[in-house]
């Protein structure tokens, strides 16, 4: 691709770590991979973890560090969900790529081990069939003399939020997961995030006070990419000095008083008032899923609601969330949630006494 103008680059790309050791907060992963780089002994790898924790970054960095810029093109195949990745691509493209054996001559100071790397980004969105088809690319190939040691996979799977077990039973099929060395990427802690953000704001000449910094880490919930995107957006809109209010306005987090207004309307027990608040939330364009998660925090933290009432409300939250994912109407769902909160707080029976 043609050289990119520095200024037109998103900061997420601009400040992407280029070396494995620069990847923040993933100490175990970095340690194992640095070892890999020294010995050039590379197992199949599966990276998993929440978005914005550095999975793609690590995969790209290790490929670059192993082969350097010159050999990179011929030795590394990068496939992501935007490429068609049905079973057919695995059968033809990946196998053809992996089938050509390569030598191990060192090249320009890079280790250049005698195998290729295939990076499958966002592997969880691959079809199950395609994943099943990947398996023979792993183990048996190593034993046929023809293809011996000619390829090694790095699979990064983005968007899986959950622990190891749910991953294995989840989007990545079990037999494939068991063929890989698994690396879990942790959500970043506040300190790590802050130090990275401070570094970027220094490079870009931004002025960030400590309140804004803690707000930024709070709203991005351990997702560094999101934090950087917010920062860049805020910098573009409000110039070089950024307050925490500016950050909230670009992040799409609903202001606390809007949530409170809805909650107190529900507390009041008047259906029409709550209906009016719900209509207002919809008209203001706040995303209901965001509203639900913030309302949830408010309810769980409030002291004067009994545990039983909270349980009743939370059950409804879960149902509404599922319905929203299915594409149900936002107004009706939020109204239903509001009505349930009202009923729970005023201890009205859940079931209706009328009709069948």
């Amino acid at each position: 691709m043609a050289p990119v103008l520095q200024s037109s680059q998103p900061w997420v790309e601009k400040y992407r770590p280029r070396q494995v050791k620069d990847v923040a907060h993933q100490d175990e992963v970095v340690r194992v991979l640095t070892n890999t780089l020294e010995t050039t002994n590379c197992p199949h790898m599966l990276f998993y973890g929440p978005p914005g924790t550095g999975k793609t970054t690590t995969a790209l960095a290790i490929a670059h560090q192993l082969f350097g810029p010159e050999l990179y093109k011929s030795r590394v195949l990068e496939l992501n969900a935007s490429d068609d990745r049905g079973i057919n691509v695995v059968r033809t493209k990946i196998k053809n790529f992996a089938a050509v054996a390569v030598g191990s001559a060192r090249h320009g100071g890079y280790p250049c081990p005698p195998y290729k790397i295939i990076i499958l980004d966002e592997a969880d969105s691959m079809t199950e069939d395609a994943q099943a088809c990947l398996m023979p690319c792993g183990a048996p190939w190593r034993h046929t003399q023809k293809l011996q040691d000619s390829s090694s996979f790095v699979i990064t799977s983005a968007g899986i939020i959950g622990m190891g077990m749910s991953l294995i039973t989840g989007p990545i099929i079990e037999p494939l997961a068991s063929r890989c060395a698994k690396f879990r990427f942790k959500p970043l802690t506040e300190e790590i995030m802050s130090s990275r953000i401070l570094y970027i704001s220094k490079e870009e000449g931004l002025n960030l006070d400590s309140e804004a910094l803690s707000t930024l880490s709070a709203i991005s919930q351990g997702d560094l990419r999101r934090a950087i995107t917010y920062l860049q957006s805020a910098a573009r809109l409000f110039g070089s000095s950024i307050s925490s209010k500016d950050l909230i306005s670009v992040s799409g987090v609903i202001p606390g008083d809007v949530v409170q207004a809805l909650f107190s309307a529900c507390r009041n027990g008047n259906f029409d008032m709550a209906d009016k608040e719900v209509k207002n939330v919809i008209a203001e364009g706040y995303p209901v899923s965001q509203m639900l998660s913030q309302l949830y925090d408010v309810i769980v933290e409030s002291d004067d609601i009994s545990d039983e009432q909270k349980a009743r409300i939370c059950k409804k939250f879960a149902e509404a969330d599922k319905c929203l994912v299915d594409g149900a109407d936002e107004y009706l769902q939020l109204l239903d949630v509001a009505s349930n909160i009202m009923r729970a707080i005023s201890n009205m029976p859940q079931e209706c006494s009328f009709g069948s």
Binding site: M1, A2, V4, L5, S7, S8, Q9, P10, V12, E13, P51, N80, A81, S82, D84, G86, I87, N88, V89, D121, E122, S125, A158, G159, D223, R225, T229, Q232, R236, V250, S251, G252, F271, D275, A283, E284, G285, P287, S289, Q290, A320, C323, L324, D326, G327, A328, D329, E330, Y331, L332, Q333, L335, D336, S339, N340, M348, C352, F354, G355, S356
Partner: protein, 325 residues
């Protein structure tokens, strides 16, 4: 804006000015040439393994931007998104200063994109960010995956308040040289549900119906809304299988006239809630949400609408018997 325009995601209720903003933004970025749009029927031949898929889609394009509704392609939307972005990335425009610029791709209704298409957007957005910027436009950002949202600058566009609508209507009235009686524009704004587009349309309708305006001139609601309120009152009058059968006919009539079923359901709920006890309101709003969800999952809208009406009748009748014996 100059060089560092991020990807943008506009979201907000309809009639709040998302499209207007996008067009204004493009005009300011690229000058008048962004206005010279041509409508094209593009054909893509996508190679999907063993077979090739033909996709035909209408696009609106100028030299600087392409606008399209990827959800029109149905379940093949994924291919459209991938193909067009790659195509755009291949031929980058060069601006007057000899620098390589970027093109803008406006995608409407991203909330209706399938999950796969949204997945395929995520890395593409990063990879081709040098040559192509995306402007996404949708009604609710809940339906856009987190991964896509975190790559965009999210812009919430709220609906105008009634006061703002009144201001706009008065401005239009002045420009068109119309005499507005006091409170008239306020009433239009009240009926518009905070949608500016609707307010202006009903203003225009009133102008056609009767001019000069009188201060108590009726602002006629939309035909279908009147029809729904008729349905509601007929449900209140009698709850019986026979009445249900009649209502069914009316619902069919609405569906045939291309009123989306979820809008019918919402309006019907609105009409029903007006006349109910608060105890029943909870129950009815719950069932409305329940049947609307099923409506999305199911295929035949009429079943779910009818089920909602039947449910309402049964609850209401039970309530009447309980209260009045």
């Amino acid at each position: 804006m100059e060089q560092d325009c991020p990807h943008l995601l506009f979201y907000g209720p309809s009639g709040s000015g998302k499209k207007t903003l996008i067009m204004a933004l493009l005009r300011q970025m690229f000058g008048a040439s962004a206005d010279k749009v041509k409508v094209e029927n593009k054909n893509w031949k996508v190679d999907a393994g063993t077979r090739t898929i033909d996709i035909e889609l209408t696009t609106l394009s100028s030299t600087h931007h392409v606008e399209l509704n990827p959800s029109d392609a149905g379940f093949q939307d994924r291919y459209v998104v991938q193909e067009i972005i790659k195509e755009m990335a291949k031929n980058r425009p060069i601006d007057t200063k000899g620098k390589k610029g970027f093109k803008v791709l406006v995608l409407n209704e991203v909330d209706k994109l399938s999950r796969e298409a949204q997945h395929s957007l995520r890395r593409t957005m990063e990879k081709y960010s040098a040559s192509c910027r995306l402007i996404l436009c949708c009604n609710s950002s809940s339906k856009v995956t987190e991964a896509v949202r975190s790559r965009c600058l999210n812009m919430r566009i709220n609906a105008p308040t009634e006061g703002e609508i009144v201001n706009v209507l008065e401005f239009i009235g002045k420009k068109e040289g119309l005499q507005l009686p006091s409170g008239f524009s306020g009433r239009i704004a009240q009926q518009s549900n905070r949608s500016l587009r609707r307010a202006i349309l009903s203003f225009e309708t009133c102008r056609v119906q009767q001019y000069p305006f009188t201060s108590n001139q009726a602002i006629s609601p939309m035909d279908w809304e009147e029809y729904v309120s008729e349905i509601a009152s007929s449900i209140f009058k009698e709850q019986s299988p026979k009445r249900l059968f009649e209502v069914r006919g009316k619902l069919y009539e609405l569906l045939i006239n291309c009123i989306p079923p979820e809008i019918i359901l919402k309006r019907l709920l609105y009409e029903l809630l007006k006349k109910l006890d608060s105890e029943l309101k909870h129950e009815i709003s719950h069932w409305a949400a329940y049947y609307e969800h099923r409506l999305r999952l199911g295929q035949k809208a009429i079943f779910h609408l009818e089920a909602f009406v039947a449910k309402f009748m049964s609850i209401y009748k039970g309530f009447l018997i309980e209260t009045f014996g």
